[in-house]
């Protein structure tokens, strides 16, 4: 596939891995922000190519890992209403709420449908005028344009039976929260390439400066990730802390102006609870008052529904790189991929799920081919 296979080239990956090995003189902890990057690292075995001195910590950038149990409970409550059709991305089906997940609600008769795009949910609403169709609008800035477009289309076509349960989150506030903790173990960031495709990377420059931490906007293929790591460790070894753009084929400093305008028209910043990080001011997106009619929380009176995180799940420490999954007492005891206690064990590339699969006994033999 064009613009994919070229960046999965073994020779290029080896060259970058050697350059990283040559550059690193002391141990560094880097956080890849996005779950998609984590997936690439795990899927291609990139961590086995890195020198021991470079430790990768899976960041908070995956909706499965950070959506609070409260919002899962609200989605579950909606899915249990007979007149409702709850549409969601497949990612959210197995995220545990306080009592159920969406997969078991579907098994017990709830009309829960997986969609590839929020626009598909609008189509379902148009085809089922007598049903209330709610789209579980999770995601970061990358998904915001699609969710905003769905609301604007429903408004234009006045589909009164469509609404969204907004669970949107933003990266910069979470990055600041992680860096502000005095025990923060992260030396440098691989910023989420596709978030910056939409938003640009100007908003990261004050963070790099204020916290003296290098931030490299990085793509998702092995060559992108390895080059992102190289650029980051080079800055660390030279004592520099700036924002660099590795993913230049998709990201510019200003980002996608049309997408930002659309997001701004439909949403406004709002406080948001993050699973494992607590509430972070202005770290979420909520519907503007003029689109309140499309807010499922208001329409179905769910604002009151609160729930506390499982105290036994230490996902906060995992997300901040303070603890490794196998340092959690519940890990692989009563928390495993079939019965996840917390979100990092649910998503196939969540930190705990990846650890459960690979490091449950020991690191796979790392003899690299050829």
């Amino acid at each position: 596939m064009k613009y994919v296979d070229e960046y999965r080239d073994q020779r290029a990956a080896r060259t970058l891995a050697d350059a990283i090995r040559r550059t690193v003189t002391r141990p560094w902890t880097l956080m890849e922000v996005c779950g998609g990057q984590t997936h690439g690292i795990v899927k291609f075995g990139i961590d086995t190519l890195l020198p021991d001195g470079v430790r990768l910590v899976h960041g908070p950038g995956c909706p499965v890992c950070v959506t609070p149990v409260e919002l899962i409970d609200k989605a579950v409550a909606l899915a249990q209403r007979p007149e409702a059709i709850l549409c969601t991305f497949g990612d959210m089906m197995r995220v545990p709420g306080s009592a159920h997940d969406l997969l078991s609600v579907k098994a017990q008769g709830g009309d829960v449908r997986m969609v590839y795009s929020p626009l598909d949910a609008v189509t379902i609403a148009r085809k089922n005028p007598d049903r209330s169709v709610v789209f579980f609008a999770v995601g970061f800035e990358t998904t915001a344009p699609a969710n905003a477009l769905a609301v604007r289309q429903a408004a234009r076509d006045n589909l009164g039976n469509f609404s969204i349960l907004s669970a949107h989150v933003l990266v910069p506030p979470a990055m600041r929260a992680i860096l502000s903790a005095e025990d923060c173990a992260v030396n440098g960031f691989l910023a989420a390439g596709h978030v910056c495709t939409v938003m640009g990377y100007r908003e990261y420059e004050p963070i790099a400066q204020e916290f003296r931490t290098p931030i490299v906007v990085t793509g998702f293929e092995p060559v992108d990730i390895l080059q992102g790591i190289l650029l980051c460790v080079r800055q660390l070894e030279q004592g520099r802390a700036t924002v660099a753009n590795q993913y230049r084929r998709s990201v510019t400093r200003e980002g996608n102006a049309a997408a930002q305008a659309l997001i701004h028209e439909i949403f406004q910043a709002s406080p948001r609870k993050w699973r494992g990080l607590g509430e972070i001011p202005d770290s979420g997106l909520a519907l503007r008052p003029e689109y309140a009619a499309f807010d499922a929380e208001q329409r179905f009176g769910l604002a009151h529904l609160a729930a506390e995180e499982s105290t036994r799940c230490i996902s906060g420490d995992i997300l901040r790189g303070l603890k490794r999954p196998n340092e959690c007492p519940a890990f692989a005891v009563d928390c495993d991929p079939e019965h996840p206690l917390g979100a990092p064990m649910v998503s196939s590339e969540g930190a705990c799920a990846a650890y459960y699969r690979y490091r449950r006994d020991e690191q796979p033999s790392a003899q690299v081919k050829g």
Binding site: K106, D111, Y116, P222, E338
Partner: protein
């Protein structure tokens, strides 16, 4: 929350594996079942017979390249083929839902007959039951569903013992064609994805190819068809039952460009996607070329390939050398792959 059956139990992953081991194997355990093979190998009088059963609950009932009827025939024939048996007779139990158009049922039965003729088998006994209309929660058809349970008998005319316990550490793993077509063909209908060049299910009988392998003198140690859970589930089952690890090479595993495109779009890994006309054979290294020649003779629009080797690495597991040459473990998923955005 109390354990209920969910869709994830049907995905060929570890949840299904645990259900089989803890509920069914515990309930029915006997030597033939313990082989945990696609078909049981039984001694009936003086002859050796292979006997298998399977159920088909696919939605939608008709998909690019097949339907629930042809799929039921091919799937049952292929289970018998995995024991190296010559498929002879099938049974079919139909469970029909209120509201199913008779014309649709007739079309599916006609397609079953054509598939049986093509595979050289006869449907010799059947049964029909009707159930009342289920709600259509999440099920596209809703109300015009049907399910088919089959059983199959085949004659074992060779004296090889084919099964996981025959796998040797030096064995090579050969596949009879490219992976992922069936799962993507069906998912595309659900996700509204069309293809410039239509992706048809690879649903097809493989008995002829297997019988030719044996006739050509290939020392077939083990066979496994790659249905639910794809290559990864099958390879993990064989590794567990044989007690030997497997090391696969991603660059050697054939996957069609458009199937890869659909997988990238949905966030799927083709190695986990279901197939309905593909199997892996564990053969000694010196027989690999001969095996590939036999399989190429049966491969219409695909190419067989050697995709990995058996090793005695401990702990026992399946690993993959990724396209960039770095190793990773191929673990079973707990349920089915779901389209994802992250």
């Amino acid at each position: 929350h109390r354990d209920v059956i969910t869709m994830a139990h049907g995905g060929g992953g570890s949840l299904m594996h645990r259900l089989i081991e803890q509920v069914f194997m515990a309930g029915f355990s006997n030597p033939a079942l313990e082989e945990r093979h696609d078909a049981a190998r039984l001694q009936v009088g003086s002859g050796a017979v292979a006997f298998t059963t399977d159920s088909y609950v696919i939605q939608p009932l008709i998909f690019p390249g097949g339907d629930i009827g042809s799929l039921a025939v091919h799937g049952t024939v292929n289970d018998l083929a995995m024991a190296g048996a010559r498929p002879l007779y099938l049974s079919a139990g139909f469970i029909l839902e209120e509201g199913l158009p008779v014309e649709l049922l007739t079309q599916i039965v006609r397609s079953m007959r054509a598939a049986a003729d093509a595979a050289g088998v006869q449907l010799v006994t059947g049964d029909t039951k009707v159930i009342n209309r289920r709600g259509n929660h999440g099920v596209a058809s809703g109300g015009d569903g049907m399910f088919i349970n089959t059983a199959g008998i085949g004659l074992i005319e060779h004296n090889l013992t084919i099964g996981p316990r025959q796998v040797h550490p030096r064995d090579c793993i050969v596949v009879n064609g490219d992976l992922g077509r069936h799962g993507i063909a069906v998912m595309a209908v659900r996700e509204g994805i069309e293809f410039e060049t239509a992706i048809l299910s690879d649903s097809a009988p493989v008995a002829a190819a297997v019988l030719d392998l044996i006739a050509a003198g290939v020392a077939v140690h083990c066979l496994r068809d790659l249905t639910r859970g794809g290559l990864v589930s099958a390879a993990n089952e064989i590794a567990e039952c044989s007690g030997f690890s497997a090391r696969l090479d991603e660059a050697a595993i054939p996957v069609r460009e458009d199937v890869r495109g659909a997988c990238e779009l949905l966030g799927f890994d083709p190695l986990y996607v279901a197939n309905e006309g593909r199997f892996i054979a564990y053969v000694p290294p010196e027989h690999v070329e001969k095996a590939l020649d036999v399989l190429r003779a049966h491969a219409r629009d695909t190419r067989p390939a050697m995709i990995g080797t058996v090793t005695d690495e401990k702990p026992v597991r399946v690993t993959l050398d990724s396209r960039i040459g770095a190793p990773r473990i191929l673990d079973r998923l707990s349920g089915e792959q779901l389209p994802r955005i992250c």
